[in-house]
């Protein structure tokens, strides 16, 4: 079956008890057992529930995996994967990653005796050079956040495996519609399901997906022991969101490409970072690694200082000023003051997060409406200047 058909049907088998075409939302925290010492499929909701299992089945199918696990948030999923490591182990992470992952690596895992090296994952030689004999996990994102760098997932998997490490890919930006890292050799796929999977800015959740029973069992052991599981209502909303995932991602990607082209011709814009543009250094790779579109996240640099950029981000009428991404509503933010404010100023410079950078999450509104909005926001700033 095709992707969209699976998104609608896999994991959503009709309810055998009532025939309901949408599975019920199971809110039970505990399940009655057949006998003392005899266990049914579900026992206590931290260990699993029919509602979570349905979502996990759908997401595993969409990511071409065998198993998926649903967490309370993207960060708890990331943490769940990183808790596979022991004191003394080492992680290699790409440098263009989410600020929250950066914080987890540098301020929490270090306390557990796990060390980390950041390396530019777009530069495969530099990436490989960061591995040592303690490296057990490599963590990358593609497209990266917020510079939209494209990392060669298959090559990274090959490097990680050569060093006896697992490769985990945060696939939040690309979504399984456009990239399926497990098919490219990755071992773990992570999602902030809060973003495109849910897609409506109304549920927090995270997912891990694997194609290996043993790896699943290890992750499940950690999840069941630590308890950061997804709640029933959030699970329902995310499962509902998945049904329109492909429609949303393809439409939002089309609008993003349109805006990228428009922005790159605007006199006040010095640079547009979008893998769908031929000028983007990762364009060819993205064309091979992404399935027919380039995603709906983009950044651009305004020729302006910190305050001017801030004012542009604050003057849009349709784009709303907020972190997060991947929803039907278009969002705008200034990474230097918002999503990547937790980096120190020096680190921001090193990683290319300049003050004039603006990040867009392109939503489902009509692209003409969005373009009109960006133009007026930039023009309003020009009038002030």
């Amino acid at each position: 079956m095709h992707f969209r058909t699976r998104a609608v049907h896999v994991g959503n088998e009709k309810d055998p008890a009532t025939g309901a075409v949408v599975p019920p939302i199971h809110v039970a925290s505990t399940f009655v057992q057949p006998g003392a010492g005899e266990w049914g499929e579900f026992d206590y909701a931290r260990s699993g529930s029919p509602t979570r299992k349905a979502l996990e089945t759908t997401v595993a199918s969409l990511e071409a995996g065998s198993h998926a696990l649903a967490y309370a948030s993207g960060m708890s999923a990331t943490h769940g994967a990183m808790m596979l490591l022991n004191a003394g182990d080492h992680i290699v992470a790409g440098s263009d990653i989410y600020g929250g992952t950066y914080r987890l690596l540098h301020k929490i895992l270090n306390r557990n005796g796990v060390s980390v090296s950041l390396a530019k994952s777009v530069d495969l030689q530099a990436f490989e050079a960061a591995f040592n004999d303690k490296t057990r996990l490599a963590w990358i994102e593609s497209p990266g956040n917020p510079l939209m760098t494209i990392t060669d997932i298959a090559a990274c998997a090959e490097i990680a495996h050569r060093h006896g490490a697992l490769l985990a890919v945060d696939n939040t930006f690309a979504t399984p519609v456009l990239t399926r890292p497990l098919e490219l050799g990755a071992d773990i796929v992570m999602h902030s399901a809060t973003k495109y999977l849910g897609g409506h800015s109304d549920a927090l959740g995270g997912m891990l997906v694997v194609a290996d029973q043993e790896l699943h069992d290890a992750l499940y052991f950690v999840q069941n022991s630590t308890g950061a599981v997804m709640g029933s209502f959030a699970t329902f909303l995310i499962a509902r969101g998945l049904k329109t995932l492909e429609l949303r991602v393809r439409e939002q990607s089309r609008s993003a490409l349109f805006l990228a082209h428009q922005l790159s011709q605007h006199p006040r814009v010095s640079r547009v970072l979008y893998p769908g543009l031929e000028s983007h250094p990762g364009h060819d790779l993205a064309g091979r690694q992404m399935d027919g579109a380039f995603g709906a996240m983009m950044s651009f640099e305004l020729s302006g200082n910190y305050e001017e950029t801030q004012r542009v981000a604050e003057s849009t009428r349709l784009f709303q000023l907020a972190v997060s991404l991947g929803a039907v509503e278009s969002l705008i933010e200034q990474p230097a003051s918002m999503s990547h404010a937790s980096y120190d100023a020096a680190d921001r410079q090193t990683h290319g997060i300049v003050d004039g950078l603006i990040r867009l999450s392109v939503g489902l509104e009509h692209p003409d409406d969005l373009w009109e909005d960006l133009q007026q926001a930039i023009a309003a700033e020009d009038k002030l200047a």
Partner: protein
């Protein structure tokens, strides 16, 4: 750009926002409670006033705010504004189901001695309500053949208050000439109601043709996920004041959670409709060329009797396709339904999941043979409500389900 909720905002452009922009933003305040990007689910059944003067101001100034849940809630007002904007109407009133909406309108507009004229192809429960319940209150229902405008004019009397049709009709998918229908009502001083559930405001906006009231079972394409029930009436505020008052008394309103699911479903409205339209067209064309199929009813086919009207009044033709199996009795037809693997056997339509049903078995089982003949429901009729799955998968499923017919 400006939305109904954004009255203070700048009105820079005359161009109307696109359908998706409306679906995502229309009716919503840009700055919401708690700075949240989405509207909160306000479950409160009642709403507080800061003092007695506030109550008096609310009544005297007819303020738009919550009082008691049955009269409207802040969450409901958002969805009503959004639906009104999408439909190009002044005001929308939500009900707990499509039937509650049509009943709400009839009960507001029709008094004992009044008459209502229907085009006869319609949802059987609408017909049943008129025949069995409105008649008890002395309201006379007349039915004329669908799309026979002369017959409809001939049926109008000085007591007629309302003329009603679905467009497209269910399950025959006849398409009403909305301009002609509106004109007919205007000339006779009679209000016009179109149940546009099968069209949706993406495919047709009857108010733009001069229709007075548009009705939707929002359970279908508007909600879009087969997980809520709701109904809505859209029209001019002046004509809806009595309808809203009666709803407040009768109380067929939605729960807060239901309204949230509807609002959320609307965000992907245009995307879903594009897929439903594409799937409906592809499936209709496939079926029309299939040797086991006797006839296909789909307004997007050149062979459809109302294709020309549909082209004039509609942007796309929706996901519903009705067809007849060639030389088949009810059992052979039922076997086709039973062989489907993607399409699920269920009433309803307009959700992401493809549904299939045989009208004889599903909705008309209690009818006599004569009644079914009168309603145009042969034993070999199947109604397929295309979801948003990939069209290749839906067609492959139909192909295998129909393969059995050729062998028999």
């Amino acid at each position: 750009m400006s939305f109904p909720s954004d009255r203070s905002g700048p009105r820079s452009e005359q161009r109307l926002p696109g359908p998706s922009t409306l679906a995502v933003h229309a009716g919503e305040d840009r700055h919401k409670l708690g700075h949240a990007i989405t509207d909160p689910v306000i479950c409160a059944s009642t709403f507080t006033f800061k003092d007695s003067q506030a109550v008096i101001d609310y009544i005297e100034q007819d303020q738009e705010r919550g009082e008691y849940g049955r009269y409207g809630t802040p969450g409901e007002m958002v969805v009503e504004r959004k639906l009104a904007a999408m439909e190009g109407g002044e005001e929308a009133i939500l009900y707990s189901s499509g039937m509650a909406a049509i009943v709400g309108l009839f009960m507001s507009k029709l008094n004992s001695g009044d008459e209502v004229v229907f085009f006869d192809e319609c949802y059987h429960r609408s017909r049943e309500f008129c025949a069995k319940h409105l008649s008890r209150f002395g309201v006379v229902t007349r039915q004329v053949k669908a799309c026979d405008y002369e017959a409809m004019e001939a049926a109008i009397t000085p007591q007629t208050r309302l003329v009603v049709s679905e467009s497209p009709t269910n399950p025959h998918l006849s398409v009403v000439d909305l301009e002609r229908f509106a004109d007919l009502g205007r000339r006779h001083g009679v209000d016009t109601l179109i149940d546009a559930t099968l069209a949706t405001p993406y495919n047709a906006r009857p108010i733009e043709f001069g229709i007075d009231f548009v009705l939707h079972s929002a359970t279908k394409y508007m909600g879009g996920h087969n997980d809520l029930l709701a109904g809505v009436i859209v029209g001019q505020s002046e004509k809806l004041a009595d309808v809203r008052t009666l709803r407040g008394i009768m109380g067929a309103v939605n729960s807060a959670h239901n309204l949230y699911l509807l609002q959320r479903g609307l965000k992907t409205f245009e995307l879903r409709m594009l897929r439903h339209n594409a799937n409906g067209q592809a499936v209709a064309e496939f079926l029309e060329n299939h040797p086991a199929v006797e006839r296909v009813y789909y307004p997007g086919l050149a062979s459809h009797p109302y294709h020309e009207v549909a082209r004039r009044t509609m942007r796309g033709y929706g996901g519903l396709v009705t067809f007849l199996i060639k030389n088949a009795d009810w059992r052979v037809t039922a076997d086709v339904v039973d062989r489907s693997r993607i399409a699920r056997i269920a009433p309803s339509l307009g959700g992401v999941e493809t549904l299939i049903e045989q009208p004889l078995v599903m909705s008309y089982y209690q009818c006599t043979v004569e009644e079914r003949k009168r309603f145009g429901i042969p034993d070999n009729m199947i109604r397929l409500a295309c979801g948003i799955e990939n069209e290749e998968d839906i067609i492959a499923d139909l192909e295998q389900a129909l393969a059995g017919v050729q062998r028999t």
